[in-house]
């Protein structure tokens, strides 16, 4: 078996699907770790071209020989919540957003399932509680 390569750095970025460019933050963040930026940009855009419109979190592992690989993740919970209820921005101040900022239990379940293993929760109920907590922190009323 090949020897496991040593990870020397990890970079986490949020990039719109299919739209990575060498402009900041991608270029400087990757360049500082010695990653081949052009290669990353091409591979990321190839893999995420179909996800245009979503902001995709990506975790890039950088190895000692400057080679890299990356893992695509689900968008942050807060982003999924906003998408589910169809509004652009969360509350800038604590308290309810507007009377329309309501999320249903079904929508929370859907997000919890989509996010799945990325949440630290062991059960779907615990995952839903995490999602509901994030929604409340954003000033969104949880119904049901």
């Amino acid at each position: 078996m090949a020897k496991k390569k040593e990870v020397v750095g990890q970079i986490k970025l949020q990039i719109p699907g299919g739209k990575a460019t060498p402009a900041p933050p991608v270029g400087p963040a990757l360049g500082a770790q010695g990653v081949n930026i052009a290669q990353f940009v091409k591979e990321f855009n190839d893999k995420t071209g179909k996800m245009a419109g979503d902001v995709i979190p990506v975790v890039i592992n950088v190895y000692k020989d400057k080679s890299f690989d990356f893992i695509l993740k689900q968008p942050p919970v807060s982003r999924l919540i906003l998408k589910a209820i169809g509004i652009d921005k969360g509350s800038q101040t604590p308290g309810p957003l507007t009377e329309h900022a309501v999320i249903t239990e079904a929508q929370i379940k859907e997000i919890a399932e989509r996010k799945g293993a990325e949440l630290t929760a062991h059960t779907i109920e615990a995952a839903m509680a995490t999602v509901a907590g994030t929604a409340r922190a954003m000033g969104i009323v949880v119904k049901g």
Partner: protein, 272 residues
């Protein structure tokens, strides 16, 4: 485009909250880098200003700003792109130097996906030192040649031969065609990661390749085996220049000349 670059040190358990809160704002222009078990948040704010809502999150999460700097996009990219060339758009395709002794030399640099069109201080500083060193009759290796601009200059100044090498395939291709455009027929251009694939011997080295690579290159035995004489080193950001100075002395070289411009430094060194 000017960017403000801001760094904060963060704890691992703050990452998820940061991702969530930035996502609510639709703010993506940041990176979290984990290096030797410490995590750093870097924010790149266009127009050299951090959005107030982002600043508010930093204050609320008690994340003090460790450092910040304002840089243009080209500077940010040039500083960090250490392992391959990157295209800087070229609107002035001519690079001219006028050393006192030999009159003006003009090099044609068309737009290409390679680094080095004479507008970056690192290139200009190296060019100035090559002019000072007068490499007449030298056999030269241009390591990290990019567009080939510095090696072409050395040939125009009277070097007997220049071999070009670069880690990046685009640069190897660009150098070949730019040499031809400047009247250099059949140049030797090859790909090499630092000196790994260099087999010939040279009397002079040009290396405009960024500090972290110079740090690897200077102490290596291969450098002394490959290059018997002077070296012009450039691409050294002011952050690293004291360290590179130490590396030069430790490797058994004497500094013949040192130039700096804006944040960039370059050295002409001679073996003791």
């Amino acid at each position: 485009m000017q960017y403000r670059e801001v760094f904060c040190s963060i704890a691992p358990d703050q990452e998820e909250e940061l991702h969530n809160r930035f996502a609510v704002l639709g703010f993506c222009s940041y990176a979290i880098t984990t290096d030797y078990k410490t995590s750093t948040l870097s924010i790149y704010a266009a127009a050299a200003d951090i959005p107030p809502a982002v600043h508010k999150i930093l204050v609320e999460m008690e994340l003090p700003v460790l450092a910040n700097s304002d840089q243009s996009e080209a500077e940010l990219l040039a500083e960090t792109h250490s392992h391959h060339a990157f295209a800087l758009t070229t609107s002035e395709p001519v690079f001219t130097v006028s050393p006192d002794q030999t009159g003006p030399h003009t090099i044609l640099i068309p737009p290409s996906p390679a680094f080095g069109d004479g507008r970056h201080p690192a290139t200009r500083l190296a060019a100035e030192l090559i002019c000072q060193a007068q490499p007449v009759g030298e056999s030269i290796l241009d390591l990290g040649c990019g567009t080939g601009i510095l090696g072409i200059l050395a040939l125009k100044l009277g070097a007997s031969a220049v071999d070009f090498c670069d880690y990046d395939a685009d640069s190897v291709r660009a150098t070949g065609s730019i040499c031809n455009l400047n009247g250099i027929i059949n140049p030797t251009v090859f790909s090499s990661d630092l000196l790994a694939d260099v087999t010939q011997h040279y009397s002079f080295l040009i290396a405009n390749i960024y500090a972290d690579l110079l740090e690897q290159l200077l102490p290596s035995k291969k450098l002394r085996e490959t290059v018997s004489g002077d070296c012009v080193l450039s691409g050294i950001h002011e952050r690293h220049h004291e360290h590179i100075r130490t590396c030069i002395t430790d490797a058994g070289y004497r500094i013949q000349a040192h130039l700096s411009e804006e944040h960039w430094h370059a050295f002409w060194i001679q073996p003791l």
